[in-house]
Subunit: 218 residues, 2 copies
């Protein structure tokens, strides 16, 4: 896969002017597309309805976002601009469990914007690239969970943070997004505990001589 | 979530007459929709094109499968009729790694029918129910991996087979289907090893007094 940034048509991305009219318009339009996503099926969403809901001229919406895929990509983009950080509960198990509970809640609340965005990411190549960037951003922010655990002496230095966090988080997304299994209230804690037990047994130790990301090309 | 079977309109499902004309028609039509899925975007697929490709009268296709979602649901249904079994490599680690390599190959080959089916399952409620049944079937078949490991003395009796297999498999699907990360050739083995280490540390032990599936409603 090439870098998503390489394929980006930068002319379609709104410039950020915090507090300015551009910024206000973007906020209104993104609020409108989020509300539409929560209320109806992807195929029923039109740029005209988004513009009307946002109270923004439709020509502005068409010019800046081009289509529903472009709007979705910008929803993901905006999500990456927030100040979200994983909770600091004081233990590795607590941090991973809190992360999983947050994911499970976001995926199961009704309407679920997160679930709608996942579905939409299969509909638009632009949204798919944006969701990839958002995951990348979120997993990078989560690496602090492992750094804290290493500082506390819960984990050995040289633990691959990304692998550990993915192992903890993947079962929750797997069951709810891909398998579409009924909600399992115990899963967030169990998946967190599984990852901690595996970590304690050395599952995410970076092999000597390799960097933390050095296992990708082997 | 109610049982998918409850929501099924049984009149739209073809009766199975192995070797008969119904069976031949179904095979031709399902081969055609699989080929279409591999070649073009979901939105471009029409029942007319599927009928033409299959050499089956279009009225037959419309009557029996109704729409593209109905066809997709039957593709999943047919996949559940195969005689797939997880490989028996002689060890728990080997079995889980083989399973993960199989998944990774199916998701990354081009064109990938599996990847197309995942995307399509977000487009059609009927296909979504069918994909749920297929996962259920596959994970049930995979439980033999854990049974063999218990017999070999690699795992303690009372290990939750489903949880173990999901823990081993989830990271591969997560990275390729949801995160859309570049292919990581080492991931199938690493995810299998992580699950085995966690299992050895008791991560999937069924609490005393509970059945193997007894954690769902706690």
């Amino acid at each position: 896969m090439t870098s998503p940034a390489d394929q980006e048509d930068s002319s379609t991305r709104p410039r950020r002017r915090p507090g300015g009219r551009t910024s206000r318009t973007r906020t209104q339009v993104l609020d409108a597309i989020r509300a539409e996503l929560a209320e109806r099926e992807y195929d029923e969403i039109t740029l005209d309805a988004v513009a009307a809901r946002a109270g923004v001229h439709r020509a502005t919406v068409y010019r800046r976002w081009r289509d529903v895929g472009g709007l979705l990509a910008d929803v993901f983009e905006a999500a990456g601009d927030d100040d979200w950080q994983p909770r600091d509960t004081g233990s590795l198990l607590g941090d991973l469990a809190a992360l999983n509970h947050e994911s499970q809640t976001a995926l199961t609340e009704r309407p679920s914007l997160v679930a709608a965005l996942f579905a939409a990411s299969f509909r638009s190549a632009e949204a798919a690239r944006a969701v990839r960037r958002l995951w990348e951003d979120r997993y990078t922010r989560c690496e602090v969970i492992v750094e804290r655990a290493v500082r506390r002496g819960e984990l050995a230095p040289g633990t691959d943070a990304r692998q550990l966090v993915v192992a903890a988080a993947a079962p929750v997304y797997h069951q709810l997004v891909l398998v579409r299994a009924p909600v399992d209230p115990g899963l967030p804690d169990r998946a967190a505990r599984t990852a901690v037990l595996a970590a304690s047994a050395g599952a995410f130790a970076v092999p000597p001589g390799e960097g933390a990301e050095g296992t990708v090309d082997d």
